[in-house]
Amino acid sequence: MAATDIARQVGEGCRTVPLAGHVGFDSLPDQLVNKSVSQGFCFNILCVGETGLGKSTLMDTLFNTKFEGEPATHTQPGVQLRSNTYDLQESNVGLKLTIVSTVGFGDQINKEDSYKPIVEFIDAQFEAYLQEELKIRRVLHAYHDSRIHACLYFIAPTGHSLKSLDLVTMKKLDSKVNIIPIIAKSDAISKSELTKFKIKITSELVSNGVQIYQFPTDDESVAEINGTMNAHLPFAVIGSTEELKIGNKMMKARQYPWGTVQVENEAHCDFVKLREMLIRVNMEDLREQTHSRHYELYRRCKLEEMGFQDTDPDSKPFSLQETYEAKRNEFLGELQKKEEEMRQMFVQRVKEKEAELKEAEKELHEKFDRLKKLHQDEKKKLEDKKKSLDDEVNAFKQRKTAAELLQSQSSQAGGSQTLKRDKEKKNNPWLCTE
């Protein structure tokens, strides 16, 4: 930019300077936390699993509340996603929780395309965020982030291994979202079967190259607990919203004739571990991974697909604007060309139509002329005929008058003769014919 003389003295690359007293910026984390609290948090969970595996119940149990919604039927023609957003408040922290559930997953006969609606949904959320980020006038800090932060994949408790549908779906999702596989309805499996099942699942995931979410172990305060929890994946959970009296406390549990399964008992199931990991320890990390890893990957792929690059073949840095500008000009040029073409076509067609119309007009004129001529000829003929008729009539009249005159003359002169002749004629029938 302008003639700015900036002498940057970064002594030995940012030396640490000792403080001679208490400055007070140790309150910075608190300031940050206060800001976050006033803004509120937002968390989006996607539950993928077959119908009837207890997704909604688990959500209710996790967040200690009753989310509304009826259970889905098994007769869905395709996989759909149902999304609901809730406002939770605990002490002074507000959480905007969005729970997205698959409806009809695994119910169809042909399940080849079952994963597609899920992938499309996740992509759509990334897309919306990318659109907002690329806007000129944007409000990113006030934007309701709808990107999926965690995907809980519900595995059916068969006790054997993962279904092929599970493997295919997880493989498609692992680069787009943080997957946490959990074994649903795990009160159907015994302890020994459970350990075998877990080992089988993890080995299958590893051999198929599915990358599930690993709890972060780089920060000392949570490294230990995350490390141990990583070994317990996938969590075997049970969900229940019914409270039963056990001992002298009310606890969430499921009652069977042979015993009661306590949800929050670590010896019975891994529900407490899941809650710890998902909410109490790693919620922020899940959000950060979604933003910095999955979203960035999506963004990079999308922009590269559109033809943007960071550096051109001469390794000079391209700017997004320049490429965008170039593409835009290209597109505008094309548009203009098309517009020209269309205009040409339009003009052409108009000319043709005009020519046609002119032809028709000419024809009409000719016809009119012909008709007129015909009419005139007819009229002339008629007049001629009338004239000849008149002549005839006149001639006849003349002859008539002449004949009458003659008759009157002859009747005077030879009236008797005529009488006689008439008598004779009368008498002689052969002469009466005149």
Partner: protein, 360 residues
């Protein structure tokens, strides 16, 4: 780049998400542990703060910075003294990492020696504005890369402390010009420098006059009224706004007063204690800048000033129709990508083709 941009539009940092039904939680879930998670992550990453001090030489800018952060920020003890006054305005930037109770702060201080020292000070604010905009530009370039870094290094100026010379009268034209331009691009905190040359009554009168000047010229200094989010903020910030500009005295030498070791300036008629509220308002400045509003300064820089710069910059580089223009990235079936921007040309072409249809 026109420095006289429109002032930032008021906006709230509270998320405007869709209306959702509140749900009651029966029992402890542990959502509030997310606050600890946020804290741990923030402390691990460290904080950054960039401050710029603007004012004429001899007003005690460098001393003030040293007093604020209680460390020898500058390598030489008293810059300016004995050094020739630079002919042009030169900006000097120093970066240090300071740590307190586990919190690491990367502090960058930018000094402006030579500001307002020439005979003709016309356009002397250009290098300053240029520097600020350059930092925004750097951040913008990082942000629009395809492969971006996880954490973009933030060199944008979060706060600019403007030192008003203690004339006791009112703001000078140079001050007003600069403040008008600065407050549109960065958070500005004006202070009355070397306030030990004014008595308390003179200070108050001077302060009122400066506030009046600021109001007359529509200069919005930090904390800006339009960014107050709720009633608590407004009450707190009104108190601060009432005392701005703070009358401060800086010193990095310690003297013994009443058995305590305090920072102060020793004169023949007494010792002016820097951290004594009765003597000067340094504590208010320190609390505002560091203890209570540091995060807020950063947020407003990021959400308002940087966004304004970005809007101007992106609008400049291509001629676009007014209003939000977004890139249509909707996935299309295999074929050439749908080009960006619904433009007027496109609409006209469609209208033409419609007209074509109607004629047949």
């Amino acid at each position: 780049m026109d420095p006289l941009r429109q002032s930032p539009s008021p906006c709230s940092s509270r998320p405007s998400s869709p209306k959702t039904p509140p749900c009651e939680i029966h029992g402890y879930v542990g959502i509030e542990d997310v606050l600890d998670q946020v804290k741990i992550k923030a402390m691990k990453m460290g904080f950054e703060f960039n401050i710029m001090v603007v004012g004429q030489s001899g007003l005690g800018k460098s001393t003030m910075v040293s007093t604020l952060f209680k460390s020898k920020v500058w390598k030489c003890t008293l810059p300016g003294l004995g050094m020739p006054i630079p002919q042009t305005l030169q900006l000097k930037s120093v970066t240090h990492v300071i740590e307190e109770k586990g919190v690491k702060l990367k502090l960058t201080v930018t000094d402006t020696p030579g500001f307002g020292d020439q005979i003709n000070n016309d356009k002397c604010w250009d290098p300053i504005l240029g520097y600020i905009n350059e930092q925004y530009e750097r951040y913008l370039q990082e942000e629009i890369l395809i492969t971006r870094q996880r954490h973009i290094p933030d060199t944008r100026v979060h706060c600019c402390v403007y030192f008003v010379p203690p004339t006791g009268h009112c703001l000078r034209p140079l001050d007003i010009e600069l403040l008008q331009r600065l407050c549109r691009t960065v958070n500005v905190v004006p202070v009355i420098a070397r306030a030990d040359s004014l008595t308390l009554e003179e200070r108050e009168a001077f302060r009122r006059r400066i506030q009046h000047n600021l109001r007359t010229h529509c200069i919005e200094v930090y904390p800006q009224k339009c960014f107050d989010e709720d009633i608590n903020d407004r009450i707190l910030n009104s108190k601060i706004r009432d005392r701005i500009p703070f009358a401060v005295v800086g010193s990095d030498q310690e003297y013994l007063v009443n058995g305590r070791c305090v920072l102060g300036r020793k004169t023949k008629w007494g010792i002016i204690e820097v951290e004594n509220m009765a003597h000067c308002e340094f504590l208010l400045l320190r609390d505002l800048l560091i203890r209570s509003h540091l995060q807020d300064l950063k947020d407003i820089t990021h959400n308002v000033h940087y966004e304004n710069y970005r809007v101007c910059r992106l609008n400049e580089s291509h001629v676009l129709p007014r209003g939000p223009c977004w890139v249509n990235l909707a996935p299309t079936p295999p074929g050439p990508p749908v080009a960006p921007g619904p433009s007027k040309v496109c609409r006209q072409a469609r209208e033409d083709s419609d007209d074509d249809e109607d004629d047949y």
